[in-house]
Symmetry: C2
Subunit: 220 residues, 2 copies
Amino acid sequence: MAIVNTELKNAPLPSIKRLPIYLNMLRLMQVKGRPVVSCTHIADDLHLDPTQVRKDLAITGIIGRPKVGYQVPELIQSIEAFLGWKKANEAFLVGVGNLGSALLGYEGFAHLGLKIIAAFDSHPEKAGKTIHGREVFPLEQLPSLASRMHVHIGVLTVPASAAQSAADVLIGSGIRAIWNFTATRLDAPPDTIVENVELASSLAVLSSKLEATMKNKKKS
Amino acid sequence: MAIVNTELKNAPLPSIKRLPIYLNMLRLMQVKGRPVVSCTHIADDLHLDPTQVRKDLAITGIIGRPKVGYQVPELIQSIEAFLGWKKANEAFLVGVGNLGSALLGYEGFAHLGLKIIAAFDSHPEKAGKTIHGREVFPLEQLPSLASRMHVHIGVLTVPASAAQSAADVLIGSGIRAIWNFTATRLDAPPDTIVENVELASSLAVLSSKLEATMKNKKKS
């Protein structure tokens, strides 16, 4: 266990971000019944450098056999264990507007080790509803439910203007990690993990590139 | 126009990614009726460096007045114009499973200059349905509709196993930019813009950090 911890501290973020990409590929291989895979094969498929792939996979603690590679099921297990995706992480979702309701219905999170078990909203008229099988509670009940149910992850899908105050409720409730879908940068104490999804930033990159392409086209 | 283009080519991605964060903050300020804002104010609020903020905003072509700052509405317009968000970019969505249906219902895209005008699915039983006001067409109809409607953006929300083949249909239809919500790295020609949302990577960072925290806690 200590080894995994030490390695995680040294594990670069780009490597961690590539792990789900490998996992996705490996799961497809498993479905096709492929038993073994090499770094070179993975690297070729994903247009990456084989040495990089070997390093990325090594942070999970697995070492491939020279000239053979990795057993696919073993490699999947190693990545899942490293990411903490072997058992589902239970989470609360705050803000059942459009995006929040949408995410409650997204079954893909199960593959990512995330299980949203309840939802919260500050609008009283939303409390008591059930959305995609999850009950919606008033936001005031979050602190007591978080401690009673030992939930550590909060998925934040409120409007930008309510983001900080909702985050404060999560932090005050002992939530350790916030998955922030809002465009607001949150103020949080250093021991709270905040991961921003930045849908808006991603779309900004896409649309600014497209805007430039279209303008160049018009000029020529 | 030429100036904007030159600047975009030199604009670093991290700056582009911060623009929606500024925009979000500025829109909240506008709602509160604040007429003017300085780089220092923005930087303080977002925990950034004021010089960085000035540089980021300058890529949109705007120059603040010394000791005064920027007119809020003017700054909003400048960022929106740079990102191509003044007029909505029309887009097609491919794959109306859980995530796709969810995104069709997400009204927040309107603020990000994105308007999904139709959806497509390769499953014949889904075609003909209307989801959140958008009609679902068979995937085979995408090429003819894309050219007829001059749509340039494709939002990809199919399962990982179908990602490349659906992307091929988009690319073959003249779609210039793909917003990829799948965990699959797409093969695409260099003139196609591919922007990966990487929900899985974002969650990997969050859960691996949480996993490490929890293990350290258990040890101590």
